[in-house]
Every structure is written in structure tokens, then in C-alpha cells.
């Protein structure tokens, strides 16, 4: 075992930090207060990602022949941590680089890799995730959006919900049912669907947590070329499982929690409250949660480095992450006090971010069920 970063990793982190500091504008906090889907942040993210791409930093953990640098997943983890710390200036790009790209690399045709991978590497394609439906949330396999083969196209009908960032996306990683008779995990297919096709309508669902987090996406006889299919017809489920394993840990949310907690302690100090034993205790407890989340996330990266297939360790890490965020956000409101009531205040923005940690990309309960069955070997309910 070794818990230290290598010399190269340390100097890379320093370089990255300097780059971030120089790239973020003075009004970054204002820009980012509506979240990654907001108009202001989406616009900024495009420019920012182009700069990251110039340095090869969006996808350095990808193979060299595909535009990466063959760097270890640890390197990508450093990027994730530094990005989340400052409020994810990559915006929705984190999806492309964390899970869309790796999934296309694993399951895509040469042509699909050509089309999509180079664009992701350059930072000029934005993706959204078309998984959830009104009747298919935790029970994702209940999805019903139909895609019926007609010549060289699939004709898609149905609707998706909660789709984040679709407003600015170029493509949707879309789950459909290609066999209308099928149920559950069988008969599900993945389409890499351009979002500007005729017949696609969007509606934003106003959200408490920020701008453009949620949309409904309606498909009315949308013709998607068969060439957009990822993997086999009906072979979507293993692809979904693969992509989720990446998604669930791809976001270094604990890094933002850690940064926020330091700021909370700083504020407590300024207020003369750092000597209060009650405050000390709460800060210490929250800090232990954050560190637990960090280590459980590192554990998964390490498993990946060692070539292990995805395990329920990812679910464990997500739950620990949510616990950490919850502890930090409670303390953020408590210490910043009534100032945190203002929309856009540092603590308020964090509170809104932490609020949905236990629901998005699989709820805490779903994660716990997987830990119980896969790790603890308990019988299913």
C-alpha cells in the first residue's frame, strides 16, 4: 500500500491548478451559481473545455491512438478533483469524458469512434443522458420509449424525463426499447442520437436546485439512422451497466465538499466560533465523512487501475459521498447562517448541489440494495 501521490502527479496537479486559476474569470462565482446547465455556465464551459483540450487534458486517460495520452486513471481523478473543487468549469463535459467516451470506446464501431471520440477529445461535443422516463426512475429497465426499425432508420416514439443539459447538447445517449414485446432488461438498445432531429421537442421543468437541470424530451416519430446504434440491437443493458459504473464515481463530488468545509471552518474562525467545542465537533465529524468518501472513491480508481471489473464498491463510495455532502451542507447553512438564505451565496449554492446527491445517477436506496445483495450476500426483498 502507498497513500502518497507520485512526484509527477503532484507537479501535474500544481500545473492544473495554475491553469484553472488563470482561466477562471473574476465573476466565476456569479457565472456558476445557476449550475452547469445554466446559460452562463454552459457558454463558459465550451471555451474552457477547448483550452483544456488544447493541452490534451480532457481525455489524457484515454489510449494514445484515440487522442488520449495513455495516462493512468489517477491522472483523470486529479482533474476531477480540481474541477469539482472550483465548481466544475467543464460543465456538462464531465459526462462526455467520464462515461460517454469510455462507453463508446468499449462498444462502438470504428465509424462511431471516429465521429464521436475525436470530438470529445477536442471538447466540442456536448452530451446528455436519456435514461429516465416518467415510469422508469430507479426501475430503469421499465423504460418504454420505443424504437421500431424501418429500413435504415429507427422510428422513435416516447418521452424521457429529468434530462439535464439537453438544451445545449449535441447528442443524447438514448435508451430505447427495440422489441415492443420485450420486458425488463431484454430488448433495450442504446442510440447515440443527435438532439436536433425533427420530431424532438423539449420542455424545461422548473427546478428548485438550479437552472436547466430538468427537461422532458418528447420523441414523435423521430427517425434515427441505424448507424447511430451502439452495440447490438437488444444488447443495451450491459452497456448501461458499464456506463453507470463509470458515471457513479466519475464526479469527484467529495472534492467540492472538502473545499466547502475548509471555507466553513474559515468563516467559523472569522466569527470567533472555531473555539466553540460544538462547532469543533461538527467540523471534525464532517471532515471525517469527507475523507471517508475520498478514500472509498480512491479505492474504486485503484480497482480500475488493477483491471478489476466493476463491483459494488462503486455503490459504497456513492453512499459515503452523499453522507459527506449532507454533513457539509448542514454545516454550511449553520455557520454562514442567515446570509446563506440569499440565492447565489456560496453556502446556498453548495446546499442546492448537495440536496440531490442521494437521488441523481441512482438513489441511495438503490445503491444500498446493491451493497446488501452483492457485497453482503443478503437475499433480495
Amino acid at each position: 500500500m502507498e497513500f502518497e501521490w507520485s512526484e509527477e502527479d503532484r507537479s501535474y496537479r500544481a500545473e492544473l491548478r495554475a491553469f484553472i486559476e488563470e482561466s477562471l474569470p473574476d465573476d466565476w462565482e456569479e457565472i456558476s451559481k445557476g449550475g452547469p446547465g445554466s446559460d452562463a455556465q454552459a457558454k463558459f464551459s465550451r471555451e474552457f473545455c477547448a483550452k483544456m483540450a488544447e493541452r490534451g487534458w480532457l481525455t489524457q486517460h484515454w489510449p494514445v491512438e484515440l487522442g488520449g495520452q495513455g495516462a493512468s486513471p489517477w491522472r483523470h481523478a486529479i482533474v476531477g478533483e480540481e474541477m469539482w473543487t472550483v465548481g466544475e468549469p467543464r460543465g456538462q463535459q464531465y459526462m462526455s469524458v467520464n462515461w460517454v467516451g469510455p462507453t463508446i470506446l468499449e462498444f462502438g464501431t470504428e465509424e462511431q469512434k471516429d465521429v464521436h471520440v475525436s470530438r470529445i477529445v477536442r471538447g466540442d461535443s456536448l452530451w446528455c443522458q436519456g435514461f429516465s422516463e416518467p415510469e422508469a426512475g430507479s426501475d430503469l429497465a421499465a423504460l418504454r420509449t420505443l424504437a421500431i426499425r424501418d429500413g435504415d432508420d429507427y422510428v422513435v416514439n416516447g418521452s424521457k424525463i429529468w434530462t439535464s443539459y439537453v438544451e445545449y447538447a449535441d447528442f443524447c445517449f438514448l435508451l430505447v426499447r427495440t422489441d415492443p414485446e420485450s420486458k425488463g432488461r431484454h430488448g433495450i438498445t442504446v442510440l447515440l442520437c443527435p438532439v436536433d432531429l425533427p420530431g424532438i421537442e423539449l420542455r424545461e421543468i422548473p427546478a428548485v436546485i438550479g437552472d436547466r437541470y430538468f427537461h422532458e424530451v418528447f420523441f414523435d416519430d423521430v427517425r434515427v439512422p441505424v448507424s447511430c446504434r451502439l452495440g447490438e440491437e437488444g444488447g443495451g443493458w450491459p452497456i448501461v451497466t458499464f456506463s453507470l459504473a463509470f458515471e457513479r464515481v466519475g464526479a469527484a463530488r467529495y472534492a467540492r465538499a472538502s473545499f466547502t468545509l475548509d471555507a466553513i471552518a474559515e468563516e467559523a474562525k472569522r466569527l470567533g466560533r472555531l473555539s466553540d467545542p460544538v462547532v469543533q465537533e461538527k467540523l471534525g465529524r464532517a471532515r471525517s465523512r469527507v475523507e471517508a468518501a475520498r478514500l472509498l472513491n480512491y479505492r474504486i480508481i485503484d480497482l480500475r487501475v488493477h483491471g478489476s471489473p466493476p463491483t459494488a464498491d462503486t455503490n459504497l463510495a456513492r453512499v459515503a459521498g452523499t453522507q459527506a455532502e449532507s454533513a457539509v451542507s448542514e454545516l454550511a447553512l449553520e455557520i454562514f447562517g442567515s446570509e446563506a438564505l440569499a440565492y447565489g451565496h456560496f453556502a446556498e449554492v453548495y446546499f442546492r448541489l448537495a440536496m440531490w446527491s442521494g437521488v441523481a445517477t441512482g438513489t441511495t436506496e438503490v445503491n444500498l440494495n446493491l451493497v446488501a445483495s452483492r457485497m453482503l450476500g443478503l437475499p433480495r426483498e
Binding site: 427546478a207 436546485i209 460544538v278 449553520e334 438564505l341 440569499a342 440565492y343 446556498e348 437521488v359
Partner: protein, 311 residues
């Protein structure tokens, strides 16, 4: 001992209930919330019907004021009812005309209802003071917490001091008002969540049939009921220092639990403005911060029971 509402109390609750059914409700709160507005019409209607004056009326008292405050919160009424009908009468022995806001000096400047209030009651520690806000325009601040909030420069507003010990009196009634409002908001949030889990189906069954959720909802019910009875007894005790501190401490902890669980269990739907949960849940947050929150209430309770009575 009798835990049932008497006939008069029942009549008040029915009357206030039908007024609220007409004039309050989550949909109205959402509409007002969009622009951070105050429901002056609701306040006027409650005032006209006498509901804001039950604390000082001959046949009724603080308990009735608590019941009214709880009912208004459960109906998402966007008016400073606890402040006007519990805190002001308790502290001043009268209810000033117009809306009332309450603030703790030195604990931040963003105050609920302060842009609309005509009277500000300030906790200055040992003493409390009463400030006439009519000539003051407090600046509204955009907030996501479903009640209008404004910035108040407390230090520049001296007002009339209410004498030694008045600070403690203010805190007793303020804690009572906080607990009563929490009780109403929490019970509405829980009702919405329970109803949702009966309707929402995943994996071929109502999500409310999963025991992983049932127990947590049942714990929430424990918290709501306990908050209510602690609050009622505190009200009936003339807002005793220990009892009000305990009610507020319990309520603030319960509010945190209710916030987390109702949102977790409602899933993505609960984060939208198209579902009513946020109207109640978000509004719990400013209440949880008031007067230093659960920690401070709990210390006040310890002070009242085992130390020198300070709190």
C-alpha cells in the same frame, strides 16, 4: 389533562381552515414565491377574522395562537403569523398593526418578512427592543427558501428598549413560534410524501411498500407528532423557558430529518417546482437557522433546567 381540542378550539380550527382553503395553499405560495412577495391579503383576512389576536383574547391564549400558526404553515400561507400572533403579544402584551419581523442582533442581517414588516422585534441578549420600521425600507433579497427575505441593518436601528430580561422573554415566544410553524410545515411535507409513495410505482409496486422507506416515514411521523405535543404543552405553560427551548430544539432536529427524508423519498420529482414539497421543505430551512438553531435551543434547555436558568 385532556389532549382533545375543546369545542371553542375546534370552532377556531374549522373557521381558520376554511379561510385558509380559500386564501392560502401551495399553488399560491409558489406564485408569490416567484417574486418573493408577501401575502398581505391573507394577513388582512386573518386579522379581520380575529385569528391574529387569539393570544390576548379573553377566552383564548397562546395555545390557540400556536394552533393558528401551525395551520397557516400547513396551508403554506406566506405571512408572518407566528411573529404577529405569538411573539409580539407575548413580548409586548399587544399586537402592533401590520406585519412583524423578529431578528437576533449580531446573527446576520437577512431576516424573514423584513421588507414588509412595520414592526421589528430585536433580541439584543439581555434586552429586547421594538423598532418601528414604517420609515425604513429594507431591501428585498432574492431567496430560494419560499419566504420573502430582506436585509436589515440591525445596528443602525435602535428602537425602544423593553428593559432588562426582555431578551429572554422574546426568545421564549420566538421559540414557541418557530416550533409551531415547523410543526405545520413538517406535517404538510410528510403528508405529501406519504401520498406520493402510495401512488408512485417502481419495480411493479408502490414505492411505499418498501420497508426501507416505510420505517423512515414512520420515524418522520414520530417526529411530527412529538413536535406538536411539545409545542402545545409549551404554549399551555405560558411559554415556560425550558419547555419552549425543548420544543424548538426538538422541532429543529425534526425539521432537518423531515427535509432530508421527504426529499430523498420523493426522488427527482421533489426537486421540481411542479411538485409542492419544496414549498414546505425549503421554508423549514430559515426556521432551522433562527436563534442559533437546534444547538442553541438545546443549550438553552440545559441552561433552564440544570444551570442558572439562563437561556
Amino acid at each position: 389533562m385532556d389532549f382533545e381540542l375543546d369545542d371553542d378550539q375546534q370552532a377556531i380550527m374549522e373557521a381558520v381552515g376554511s379561510l385558509l382553503a380559500q386564501r392560502a395553499g401551495a399553488a399560491r405560495a409558489v406564485e408569490l414565491g416567484r417574486e418573493g412577495k408577501y401575502d398581505g391579503e391573507l394577513e388582512a383576512a386573518l386579522d379581520e377574522a380575529g385569528f391574529l389576536d387569539v393570544a390576548l383574547a379573553d377566552e383564548t391564549g397562546m395555545l390557540e395562537a400556536v394552533l393558528v400558526t401551525e395551520a397557516v404553515a400547513a396551508a403554506a400561507g406566506v405571512a408572518a403569523v407566528g411573529e404577529a400572533s405569538i411573539v409580539a403579544p407575548g413580548l409586548l402584551g399587544e399586537r402592533p398593526a401590520g406585519a412583524v419581523a423578529v431578528v437576533c442582533a449580531g446573527a446576520g442581517e437577512l431576516v424573514r418578512f423584513a421588507a414588509h414588516a412595520r414592526t421589528l422585534l430585536v433580541d439584543r441578549g439581555d434586552t429586547a427592543s421594538r423598532v418601528d420600521l414604517s420609515p425604513v425600507a429594507n431591501e428585498s433579497v432574492r431567496s430560494n427558501f419560499m419566504v420573502p427575505v430582506a436585509r436589515v441593518d440591525v445596528d443602525s436601528l435602535e428602537g425602544e428598549s423593553l428593559g432588562t430580561g426582555s431578551g429572554a422573554t422574546l426568545r421564549r415566544y420566538w421559540r414557541l413560534a418557530i416550533a409551531a410553524e415547523c410543526a405545520g410545515l413538517m406535517s404538510a411535507a410528510l403528508d405529501l410524501t406519504v401520498a406520493y409513495t402510495k401512488e408512485r410505482r417502481q419495480f411493479g409496486r408502490a414505492i411505499g411498500s418498501f420497508q426501507a422507506l416505510q420505517h423512515r416515514l414512520a420515524y418522520c411521523k414520530v417526529a411530527v407528532e412529538a413536535t406538536r405535543w411539545l409545542t402545545y404543552e409549551a404554549a399551555a405553560s405560558d411559554a415556560d423557558a425550558e419547555k419552549t427551548a425543548l420544543a424548538a430544539a426538538y422541532a429543529a432536529d425534526a425539521a432537518q430529518q423531515l427535509f432530508v427524508e421527504t426529499h430523498q423519498i420523493t426522488g427527482a420529482m421533489g426537486y421540481t417546482r411542479e411538485h409542492d414539497l419544496h414549498v414546505f421543505s425549503m421554508r423549514l430551512r430559515p426556521l432551522m437557522l433562527a436563534l442559533g438553531g437546534a444547538s442553541a435551543h438545546a443549550r438553552a434547555a440545559t441552561g433552564a433546567r440544570w444551570l442558572d436558568g439562563a437561556g
